[in-house]
């Protein structure tokens, strides 16, 4: 599995790099940060069928850090939810793929882009599933910035209150956001303790360690009767030394020279 995940994540990273370069867009750091998490989720964790993406018993994945949506688009294309040619239209006139994640694509549950929207909706889905006695699971991928939003914390409090153990929040926790280091803007530390205080069960893993991610995702719910949070310690821009741990690549555009060098670095492997 590790090798499959590594290969999927590598292709996702290369696709994201190409999409951002061709689209003259940004957010490459956020995409590379979350690529490994997505690779593991879509390698046997999520119950999601490309041939039947709307199956009622599918697991729901809400991608709340919508600005990194190209990583999900690329992952879904690799897994066959829609043609890979769609990726060429990212950020283009009359394109299939927008700069933020869009539910108009098979396999995408919900559109986001403005932060703080994903977890409340995931809570609603969790409540509805419990009420209907259904066993599918609801996942929500958030980020440092997403956890700045008050609405995210409103949802965290509610989920703990109601013990929705069919809900898992995955934090792509790279400790950087648009204008700098999270600890200098809104220091979320200790995030695990804050969540436990709101009645969540939490584990912290290396968000680039496929085996650790798989172990955490295979242990859900972490505790029966509590929502689960998996804090994934990640490196923003992971895989390209120039981008890694530098907040400027939250927005930064990619020149031809940067593109060529980054592509070479990704192809040669992390």
């Amino acid at each position: 599995m590790n090798q499959d995940c590594a290969e999927l994540a590598k292709r996702t990273r290369l696709n994201c790099l190409r999409m951002v370069y061709r689209g003259k867009s940004g957010h490459i750091g956020s995409m590379l940060s979350v690529a490994d998490i997505l690779a593991v989720l879509y390698s046997g964790i999520l119950h999601a069928d490309p041939a039947n993406p709307d199956a009622p018993d599918r697991d729901r994945l809400i991608f709340s850090k919508g600005h990194g949506g190209a990583a999900l688009f690329a992952t879904l294309a690799e897994k066959g939810f829609f043609p890979e040619e769609y990726l060429d239209t990212y950020y283009q006139d009359n394109g299939k793929l927008s700069g933020h994640i869009s539910h108009h694509l098979p396999g995408v549950e919900f559109s986001t882009g403005s932060l703080g929207h994903g977890l409340p909706v995931a809570c609603g889905m969790a409540m509805a599933a419990k009420q209907a006695g259904k066993t599918h699971r609801i996942f929500c991928i958030t980020s440092d910035g997403d956890c700045n939003e008050g609405s995210t914390w409103e949802a965290i409090m509610l989920a703990g209150q109601h013990k929705w153990d069919n809900l898992t929040m995955i934090v792509d926790y790279n400790r950087l956001q648009a204008l700098g280091r999270s600890q200098d803007i809104i220091d979320l530390e200790p995030l695990d303790r804050k969540l436990r205080d709101f009645n969540w069960e939490v584990v912290t893993v290396d968000g680039h360690d496929y085996a650790a991610l798989e172990r955490a995702f295979s242990s859900l719910p972490l505790e029966k009767g509590k929502p689960s949070c998996i804090i994934c310690r990640t490196v923003k821009g992971k895989g390209v030394k120039l981008f890694e741990n530098d907040y400027r690549w939250h927005y930064g555009g990619i020149t031809e020279e940067i593109y060529d060098n980054a592509k070479k670095e990704l192809e040669e492997g992390i």
Binding site: H103, F110, S111, T112, G113, S114, G116, H117, L119, P120, V121, A122, C123, G124, M125, A126, M127, A128, A129, K130, Q131, A132, G150, S151, E154, A155, M157, L158, Q161, H162
Partner: protein, 306 residues
């Protein structure tokens, strides 16, 4: 009207297991029958309107009908982006219900007034906007809202409203309801302030001015035919609404007339574009801000040339 709303909703919820109520710690004395009857379809999200709206969207996306419900501007302005991005963009079956449209919570102050809601809600794609004027209309509006698949904004009154209609109301989304026929001019109103329009129209009738009076309970879609008929048949239109002058019923009617290139004498009566800072009851505030019976009557006389 609030009581009538909750009674109708409860009736529907008894036969439709898809109905959920998603609250933000508001509804004391009214929502308990629903909460007690359907505890697994009821949730109080705490004082958190953004989350309330997001949760409602998630519930609705699983095939249910989710009602958000709170005072005046709480379920609209505080969580407007959730309504726009989550509810409307996904065309989720969420019904956004406010209690106390306009100045119904008068003495509580501007924090509890809903006076720009029609402008902002009707600017959202996929959103239907309903604004019933009395209890019979409010009951019909609940049925129409619940039968419709998609986002609806429901501007409910508060309590103690007098009936405006004297006969049963035929209600449809995109329709309107004539309260009184007339040939000299037309007063188009929306919401509970219609009681003042009615009194003014009845007084005008005693003075020999024959006004048509129409409740525009559906702000979006709006009854274009009724508006154009009023313009061509009576040549004069006054709009009356308990809402800011900009973007509400008056604006919507003007848009219809301009788009159809139909001209007529036209006057918008609404709250002036000021912060409502005077303190008093809804009725008193209506008088203070130009929506009293005498204000409407004066405008009818002026437009009728009498």
């Amino acid at each position: 009207m609030r009581k009538a709303f909750n009674e109708e909703l409860l009736k529907i919820a008894k036969t439709d297991p898809r109905v959920f109520m998603i609250l933000a710690d508001i509804g004391y004395g009214e929502i308990e029958p629903f909460a007690n009857a359907f505890p697994d379809r009821f949730i109080n999200c705490g004082v958190a309107e953004q989350n309330m709206t997001g949760v409602a969207c998630g519930v609705a996306m699983e095939g249910n009908i989710a009602i958000t419900y709170s005072i005046a501007n709480f379920p609209t302005l505080r969580c407007f982006e959730q309504i726009r991005n989550d509810v409307c963009y996904h065309n989720a079956n969420v019904k956004i219900v406010i209690i106390g449209g306009g100045l119904a919570y008068g003495p509580l102050g501007i924090s509890h007034h809903s006076t720009e809601d029609l402008a902002v809600m009707r600017a959202l794609p996929n959103m239907v906007c309903l604004s019933p004027c009395d209890i019979p209309e409010a009951r019909e509006a609940v049925k129409a809202m619940m039968a419709y698949n998609g986002p609806v904004y429901y501007r409910c009154g508060y309590k103690g409203e007098k009936d405006i209609h004297e006969k049963s109301v035929s209600f449809r989304i995109g329709g309107s309801a004539e309260v009184k026929g007339g040939r000299d001019l037309t007063v188009l109103f929306t919401g509970t302030v219609g009681i003042n329009a009615k009194e003014a129209v009845l007084e005008a009738a005693r003075e020999g001015i024959d006004c048509r009076l129409v409740s525009m309970y559906s702000i979006k879609p709006i009854d274009k035919e009724a508006i154009l008929r009023a313009a061509t048949e009576t040549g004069k239109i006054i709009t009356v609404e308990e809402h800011n002058l900009y973007g509400g019923l008056g604006g919507a009617v003007a848009e219809v007339l301009c788009d159809a290139n139909v001209s007529c004498k036209f006057k918008r009566m609404a709250l002036p574009d000021v912060n409502v800072s005077k303190i008093g009851s809804q009725e008193w505030l209506r008088d203070q801000y130009g929506l009293g019976v005498k204000d409407i009557l004066a405008e009818i006389r002026r437009m009728a040339g009498k």
